[in-house]
Structure formats: structure tokens, C-alpha cells
Subunit: 344 residues, 2 copies
């Protein structure tokens, strides 16, 4: 691709004239100096955008490394991203908080193995000031890649490493998945249910593993556990429910590790003539609205503040140092709470 | 935010060693030279990603200006982006074709007026090699902003300027919205329908204006036209249908300018006891699958190749020069076709 020659490009002077401020003020805004009022800063940036002014990135980055942009990297098939309301909420929180810090959200998707190299290349190219990574799989190479680049990074959900490796010292924001799941299962026990099954998320994701651990905390001993693995989709929840009914026709309750999967499970229960909650009590996880409320019967579920966790991820990026020993100090685990409706 | 000092960063030598090629080969890959096989290129990029190697962007860009990244800018509220299957398909086509050219898709959303300056700033920062813009509104400043930057750009849908200004010379890919709409309305006329209404999209978007023009081409004269403006959402389609029934209780057909709106319109028709197609024939636009097929009755609609148009936008970016007089020569208008199911 070709470009216009440099000498046709607007200059710093053009920006100063259009925004009615001095050259040095323009320079300060471009270099991210805090000594400029938000109103002036906005006026200058508007002029920059309108004129199509391109600052001398080379000089700028080596001094300040401010791109006013943060990468948001999602390891999910695009259609899951678009179908699951979780991501809409999570991204909303992230984008709002980044905008509050004047940073542009730069959304990058990883769907295939090839995408890792391309995304890694972009992240290594000094285009962004930091990265927020979520939906990571077990032993995902991405956190290590960005750590090696020295790029400030916050993970959505604790990283899932091989047993015994801990969280690798990464900063992250997560819900109390284990505690929330345990509360849901304890509630089912308190209702007198004796055959409580669970549908898990994909067990290469920490949220899925932790929610299964919460279930096991309340029902220790293999004999009491009835587990089918799902994939956090409606279809996967339906398939797992069919497996559970096949394997344990006497089940009287199911803790489902996401609301979308609970919706799929409910469809299968209805098709097989099982009444919810009379025959089978159902508890989900997420508290997606209006989905959970609109189900028939309305779904009891574990509430997590999805949008708020997105905001916290972005805030953590700006509020902590990028390097060194205190990375792991700045992780946050957010409490959940059980919301009771009619399904359990 | 702070970063690691330069001397801890991996070097070109480290990349060469890890990928098992010479320094000059690494350099050629980084500078986007075509004289490297795809397999070697992939190996080098993988090593770059794994090591977190940061090339000297300053030198690189001034010579080659290759970021291997293209901005995809969407002017839509995030929740519409996530709910409307149109965007899932369109983005899928764009991302696949960009990946085929080795370019990373960098997704930027514009929801609020403030976002224009921030996105303009990012686009002006030499982070991307080109831009694909879609869902533009009338007199959107963005195409002009990127044109001034000399950034190669292709629009999704023709730009909508004030009357008489033409398309401004921008390259774009669009469906034959006017022709497709006319074909749909002619079909309703051929069925003997005499009171044919239309629900439009938001009339600050070219696709909505062009589909309305197609309707008017077949039904000239104000007396025959019954028009209500929608907003391309299910809810908007339902509201517009209610307005139409209020205004013209005798209507016997509706051409609805999108399948999502047609779904909303169908709900209202059913609530009011109007049978489709017996009392009111319904034709949509888009041919979203499985949505259109799964409606009851299945929806007759104007098919457009949404994913294919996304691929063409990306291809156009790589196949044409960025500047000069032949920009407008490289716009493409893709034919549509009427798909008949049971609703008309």
C-alpha cells in the first residue's frame, strides 16, 4: 500500500492554529502530559483527528510510550463472543473504564492457532500501552508473551497453569467462582435434594475448574458426584443435560455452571417431561439479565458483577506498576451472591 | 505505566537463533518482504511472538509502513453489534480475508461523540496499514479524517452525503439495496396486493435510504406509499409495525428493510390477529440464517451476501492504490436476489 508523501501531511502548527493553543500545548497533549486541562486536551485531540495529523511516533514513543490505546484480547470463536451476553457486559465495563482514562479499546480476537503469532506481533509493535486478556485456556502462551514484552497486563479470570504452578504472578480480576458454586450447591442440599448433578464449563478454563471444585467442596466423595462437561454454550448445556439424564435418571437437582447452559438444560428437561423445580431443581451461574429472569420458570443463579469486573480490569491496569514483585499483590477476587428465583 | 529497560529486551539475534534462520531473513520477514516463503515467515513470526521481540518500529515504519494490521471501525452501539447477526457475518468475512493477507484485524467501536477523537487519534498513529469503516451515518466525519491521513480505506456501504455530493470518491462495497428492494415490492404487486407499506431502516444510513428508494421506484406517487421509519432492530420493527397498522388498517403487505425488523413486525401482526401471509404478506431484507428460515411462517426476503461483502472490502484494500483519481473506480455493488419462502 502506498501513502501520501510526508510534505502533504498536516503539521504541529496546523493543529495549534486549528485548536487555538500554542505549539507547546499541542506537544504536551500529544505526549500525554498531565499539565493540560481535559477541555483543552479534548480540543487538541479533536483538531488532531480532524486534520489527520500524525505525530512523530518514533520520538514520542521512546520518551513516553503513550499510545492512549489498550489491547483487549479475547480467545473465543467470534460467534461465541457475539452470542454470549457475558462478553457484551464484560466488554462494556472494560470500554467505559478505558475511555475514562482516555484510552482507546483495541479489540483483538484469537480464534485459531495462527492468530497467536499475528496478535503477538501486533502487541509487540508498540501500538498499545497495555493489554487485557480474557477467556484464557490452560497454559495459554499469551500471558507469558506479553510479560516478556514488558507490556502491562491484567487477566480476566485467574490463569490456569499445570498443577502446583500457582497463578504465575499475573495480575487478574476474577469472581469467587468456587465460593459461589459451593453456595449454590449448599442451597440445593438445604432443599432436601439428594441426587445433585453438575454441568461444568470447559475444564481447560479456570472458571469451569473452580466452579466444579465448589460443587465438590459441598459433596465430597466420588459416589455423590454426577458430573458432565459442557462448554458454556446453550447447545453444550443441552447435550450435557441429556448425558446426565442417561447416566443418572434419578437426579433431582442440577447446578449448571452458566446461565446459557442452564437455558439449554431446561429445554432438555422439559422435552423429557421433568418439571422444574418439582422434579429437578436448577441453579445457574452468571445472573444474566434479562435471560435468567425471563426463563420459565425464572432461574435461580449465582450473581457475578460481570460489567464491574470489566471496569476493575481496566482500573487495575492504570493503578499499578507494570513490573516487579508486587504484580501478584494486585489481583482481585470479587464476591458472588446467590439470587433465588423459581427454578430452585 | 513503566516498561522494562531496553537492554533486557530480546534482540534480532535471539529471534534468528530461535527460528533457525539468518538475521537478514528475520529482517526481511519483519519488513514484509515478499522474498520469504510463508512457512519461514510463519516460523519467524512465531519466534517474534514467543520471545516478545519488539522490532525497531521507527526505522521500520518510515521505510515500509507495514504494521500487518488493519483497523475495522464500527459506528454502532456495542449491544447492537452483539445482537445483530449481520455484524457477526460481516466481521467474519473481513477477518478471514485480512488473515489471508497476514493482517491482524483491529476492531474499534464508535458509540459516542467522544469516541471519534480517540479513534481518529489511534488511526493517525501509524498503528495500522488501512481502515475498513462500516455502519456510517450521514455526513460521518470519519471517512474524511482517514482520507486526510492518507490511510487506505474502504467503506462498507456507500457513503451518504448531502444531496448532490455523490459518493465523495471513496472506495466502497455495497449491496444493490435499491434494486433488491424494488424486486421485493414488485413481487408483492404481482401477488395482487394493493396496499403495500414499508418499514425503513434509520434514514441517516445509505442502506435505509436506498431500500426506501427501491420501494418508491415501484410505487410512485405519494398516495400509494405508506412509510414508517424503523432502526434495524427487532424492537424498532415492532414499533413501526404498530404505527403502520394504526395509520393504514387496510394494509395487505409490508416490505421490511431488515430481517430483524421483520421478526418484530411479525410479532405485532400476530398479536393483532393478522394472519401472515393470508391477511398481510411480509418480505424482509438480508436473508439471515437460520433466523429467516426459522420464523413462523418462514420469511421471504432479499438475500445479500453479507460475509462475501466483508471479504470483498478487505480484498479491495489490498488490491488498489490508496491515493488518486481511480479510488471511485474501485467500488463494488453486489447483486441481491429475492428468496421466496412462505411469508409472501
Amino acid at each position: 500500500m502506498t501513502h501520501r508523501p510526508e510534505d502533504q501531511r498536516p503539521t504541529l502548527e496546523d493543529v495549534a492554529r486549528r485548536s487555538g493553543v500554542s505549539r507547546s500545548t499541542v506537544s504536551r497533549v500529544i505526549n500525554g502530559s498531565p499539565r493540560v486541562s481535559p477541555a483543552v486536551s479534548r480540543r487538541v485531540r479533536q483538531a488532531v483527528a480532524e486534520l489527520g495529523y500524525v505525530p512523530n511516533q518514533a520520538a514520542r514513543k521512546l520518551v513516553t510510550r503513550r499510545n492512549d490505546a489498550v489491547a483487549v484480547v479475547v480467545t473465543e470463536p467470534q460467534n461465541r463472543l457475539f452470542i454470549d451476553p457475558f462478553f457484551d457486559l464484560h466488554l462494556r465495563g472494560i470500554r467505559q473504564e478505558l475511555a475514562r482514562h482516555g484510552a482507546q479499546s483495541v479489540l483483538l480476537l484469537i480464534e485459531e492457532p495462527d492468530d497467536y503469532a499475528r496478535v503477538g506481533n501486533f502487541l509487540g509493535g508498540s501500538h498499545v500501552d497495555g493489554a487485557l486478556l480474557f477467556s484464557l485456556r490452560a497454559d495459554d502462551p499469551l500471558p507469558q508473551t506479553v510479560a516478556r514484552m514488558g507490556l502491562p497486563t491484567v487477566l480476566g479470570g485467574r490463569p490456569l497453569h499445570r498443577a502446583g504452578e500457582g497463578d504465575g504472578g499475573y495480575a487478574y480480576v476474577d469472581a469467587d467462582n468456587r465460593g459461589g458454586a459451593a453456595e449454590a450447591v449448599r442451597h440445593l442440599v438445604s432443599l432436601g435434594r439428594t441426587r445433585i448433578a453438575t454441568i461444568t464449563g470447559p475444564l481447560d478454563q479456570a472458571a469451569a475448574v473452580d466452579r466444579l471444585d465448589g460443587y465438590r467442596d459441598v459433596l465430597p466423595g466420588r459416589a455423590r458426584q454426577v458430573v458432565a462437561e459442557g462448554d458454556f454454550t446453550l447447545r453444550g448445556g443441552a447435550a450435557a443435560m441429556a448425558v446426565l439424564l442417561e447416566r443418572s435418571p434419578d437426579l433431582d437437582a442440577v447446578f449448571v455452571a452458566s446461565d446459557l447452559m442452564a437455558q439449554g438444560a431446561l429445554r432438555v428437561l422439559r422435552e423429557r417431561g421433568r418439571k422444574v423445580p418439582d422434579d429437578v431443581a436448577l441453579v445457574g451461574f452468571d445472573d444474566l439479565r434479562p435471560l435468567a429472569e425471563a426463563m420459565d420458570p425464572p432461574l435461580s443463579t449465582v450473581h457475578q458483577d460481570i460489567e464491574g469486573m470489566g471496569r476493575l480490569m481496566a482500573r487495575l491496569l492504570f493503578e499499578r506498576p507494570a513490573d516487579g514483585a508486587d504484580r501478584s499483590r494486585s489481583s482481585l477476587v470479587i464476591p458472588t451472591r446467590l439470587v433465588l428465583r423459581q427454578s430452585a
